[in-house]
């Protein structure tokens, strides 16, 4: 009899223990991340003064801008950062219950993927339309561009005369055998570039081009965009394909060696006489099941206004989408250039094809 009582009390004790444990977890949530708890609850209870962002864009300047936005409007900005595909998967699974209001990412193809996955809704705001030209917005207004970058050719100033350079297509000819540097084709920047060339030149030509690129490589693709520039200066190859903002960032690097590298390379905007230089975009999409739509729109308006656009361009060396914004000296020195002018959705639509071609021709 006594034993049974003991057992009962142990059972009770265990249950209590587990309850406290669970409470501990939840309680821990409150004590360690008070913002998180609020973020989860508030949207439902009142028309809140918050906006929730899922972002795959990790700029320091973003955090500063959000702080400024909160200061101006009193609207609190809550952020979950992650990789775009992870965030898209999370949005899909959360469905109508999602706490997210805005989805911010880099690459037009990804923005289009989010759109076609039925995760976004039209952004209707005269202010935004006035600030962002139509070709920098989704044609159904599901997302709005925030900044752009060009994928250009950089060359060793001491070995290459810019007059030798002309187009992306030219880089795939025998002229550059063993002299070309570019990162892996598994990288989205290259997939989007290839997708744009499929769209402009057709699949067969694009495949020939990719094969030529793979054949001309000075080494197996490794590292990121900066590593290609370094390899040009190191003498591994003579020319490289990379994004413009990396050049800018290297000019202000904390490492004097990187600054030296940036000084030794020239930037060339290809295809000016033909189809234009490849441009990609970072943008914000309005989540379909957004609970704080008004606030989300206000934030996009803020991010596309002159002040924020100037700040992003200055900090990150990207081209602003707002024509009134000011660019840093380096970007001004490059002058205006002709870009491909494609619908960014193409990058997403042709991405599987691009990946397939790259695999087929052996561009690692």
């Amino acid at each position: 009899m006594k034993k049974r009582n003991f057992k009962k009390s142990v059972m009770l004790l265990t249950i209590v223990m587990i309850m406290t444990l669970l409470a501990g977890c939840v309680g821990g949530n409150k004590s360690t991340a008070p913002d998180a708890g609020q973020a989860a609850k508030e949207p439902a209870t009142k028309a809140s003064n918050e906006v929730n962002i899922y972002t795959a864009r990790h700029y320091d300047v973003d955090a500063e801008l959000y702080a400024k936005f909160t200061e101006q409007t009193g609207i609190k900005v809550n952020v979950i950062e992650g990789k775009a595909p992870e965030l898209i998967e999370r949005l899909k699974r959360e469905g109508a219950s999602t706490p997210a209001d805005l989805f911010i990412t880099v690459d037009g193809g990804i923005l289009n993927t989010a759109k076609t996955a039925d995760l976004l809704q039209p952004i209707q705001s005269a202010a935004i339309d006035a600030q962002v030209p139509a070709d920098m917005r989704d044609k159904d207004s599901h997302w709005v561009g925030l900044s752009t970058r060009a994928r250009v050719i950089v060359y060793a100033k001491d070995r290459v005369n810019p007059s030798q350079l002309s187009t992306y297509e030219d880089l795939a000819t025998d002229k550059w055998k063993g002299k070309l540097l570019v990162r892996s084709s598994t990288n989205l920047y290259n997939q989007s570039l290839l997708a744009s060339l499929i769209s402009l030149n057709g699949e067969a030509e694009a495949e020939k081009w990719a094969a030529g690129i793979a054949a001309n490589l000075a080494r197996d693709p490794e590292g990121g965009d900066r590593d290609q520039a370094k390899a040009v200066v190191a003498g591994t190859g003579d020319v490289a394909i990379m994004n413009t903002y990396y050049v800018g960032r290297m000019t202000v690097s904390d490492d004097p060696e990187e600054v030296k590298v940036a000084e030794k390379i020239g930037v060339f905007f290809p295809n000016q006489q033909t189809t234009g230089t490849h441009l990609n975009i970072s943008g914000a999409g309005l989540v379909k099941h957004s609970k704080n739509k008004e606030n989300a729109l206000k934030l996009i308006e803020f991010l596309t206004a002159k002040e924020a656009q100037t700040a992003v361009s200055k900090a990150n060396f990207e081209f602003p989408v707002n024509k009134e914004a000011e660019m840093p000296e380096l970007l001004k020195s490059w002058g205006t250039f002709k870009h491909q002018g494609l619908d960014f959705a193409v990058y997403g639509e042709l991405n599987p094809k691009a990946a397939e071609i790259a695999n087929k021709v052996g561009w690692k």
């Binding site: 209870t45 990789k83 992870e86 959360e94 490794e222 590292g223 390899a231 590298v261």
Partner: protein, 550 residues
Amino acid sequence: MNKRRLFINLKKRMNVWTIVSLTGAAVILLPILYVLSGLIRPANDNWETVKQFLLTDYVIGSLKLVLFTGFFATSIGVVLAWLVVGYTFPLRKWFTWALMLPLAVPPYIAAYTYATMTSYTGFIQATLRNQFDIHISPGTIEIMSTRGAVFILTLFLFPYVFMIAKMFLERQSAVYIENARLLGHKRLSLFFNVVLPISRPAIIAGLMLVVFEVLSDYGVANYFGVQTLSTAIFQTWFSMYDVDSAMKLAAWLMVVIIGIFVLERYLRRNQQYNTSMKQNKPLAPKPLKGAAAFGATAFCMVVFLLSFVIPVVQLIVWATWTYEKMWTADLIELTLNSLSGAAIATFVILIFALLSTRTVRTMSSWPAYLLTKLMTVGYAVPGAIIAIGVLAVCIQFDKWLSPIYASVGIGEGMLWLSTSLFMLLAGYVIRFMATGYNAIETGYDKIPRTYSEAARTLGHGSASTFFKIELPLLRGSIVTGFILTFVEIVKELPITMLLRPFNFDTLAARTYQFAIDERIYEAALPSLLLIGISFISVLCILKIEKEKTR
């Protein structure tokens, strides 16, 4: 009649402990089973593509990485362990603990540190170029390759083998080795004929940890562009947006892991005879002299420099470049987030580990064994895949609990579990159950079953036996398990990235964001804080061990 006996049998075994641990197991298992269910879900076209074009390469890539890293990490770990246990040489005492420190450096941080250091603008080439006008021809130092990945993973994972082998040799080997020495075995013959064979179980245990770490590694392989099963999972997910196929791959990886578990169990089937409660007298090390002593010190020093001093000093230099810009108030918040998240999850893991090891001990049947192995399988699965399992289960629970949410004022149709810290903690628990579990299991293995049985015979209940007999004996194992698990969680990356609630940033996440954005110098300061926390934890383990051996 038969049925009735079965029932009685079942009832006998179903005490409170069993029920509680089975419930715990179920909670942990749900996300894992969700991923495993990928095996039976119908395949789509992408899966065919993956199977046809990618799978062979990726399996080969993983195999290469596992075999080479396993071999080198084990060799270095065992040789170093034997050196510091079997001999005396200058700085030996210091190396016995210093060689554990590489555990404090997350391999992905080491990877980008080494890659940048050896690059054209890195310290090595820049110094040669600017000071001595020596230009290294491009491609001489190729760290971004399979070889480089093996190099990094070996340097930062060998301490697992070193730690376990050293503990074993210190405590269990004296009799064998002293007899062998008497019989005239020296140096090489002693090492190959005695040390290696007797420490086999310890070596295998360490090797297992290394193998699982390599299989689940994403950071290093991805940064170096090495194709492995783990990177294949992400490529399927990120470039094809096909989570189902990615989970199918992950499920197969889990099957492989469970296979390795079973193999290990098979290899260790006789090990029970080796462990004894009796404290063996420690081995008296032989002094090394002259060239041999110098060689031993030099070898230990080279390994220590490469696996700790060089990357840490490099990070410190970079941190001084970016200090002003990076030293913001939120670094403290990040540190606190890292610490508290890891501490809570570790606590939960240890409770579960205690419950389940005890269940296995009392039941000792194969279903119980399989159950616990399933619970610990998360250790070898890439974090992001676990994260998907946890996300799926939490959102499902949120949907079921919706009416309750409505009644307590959270709001109907809201996601509560899956927007709270709970989800992240659940991810940690599932991923790192193994570290806590193994520590407790080892502790339990050392307590003779007769102790508990005697207590029960003398009228103590199950609980009373636990609290009065087992818990005090387990104290050391619990603390070691706590710290080991804690260090792992502090370093964890993909689960944190995917499952954290709004505005919850950790040191690991911040570090990684800078690193993938090719901003290595900015990543240095959070990296150092992270290494600092791990460093202190490793020192704690060492201190506890010291007290134990005393």
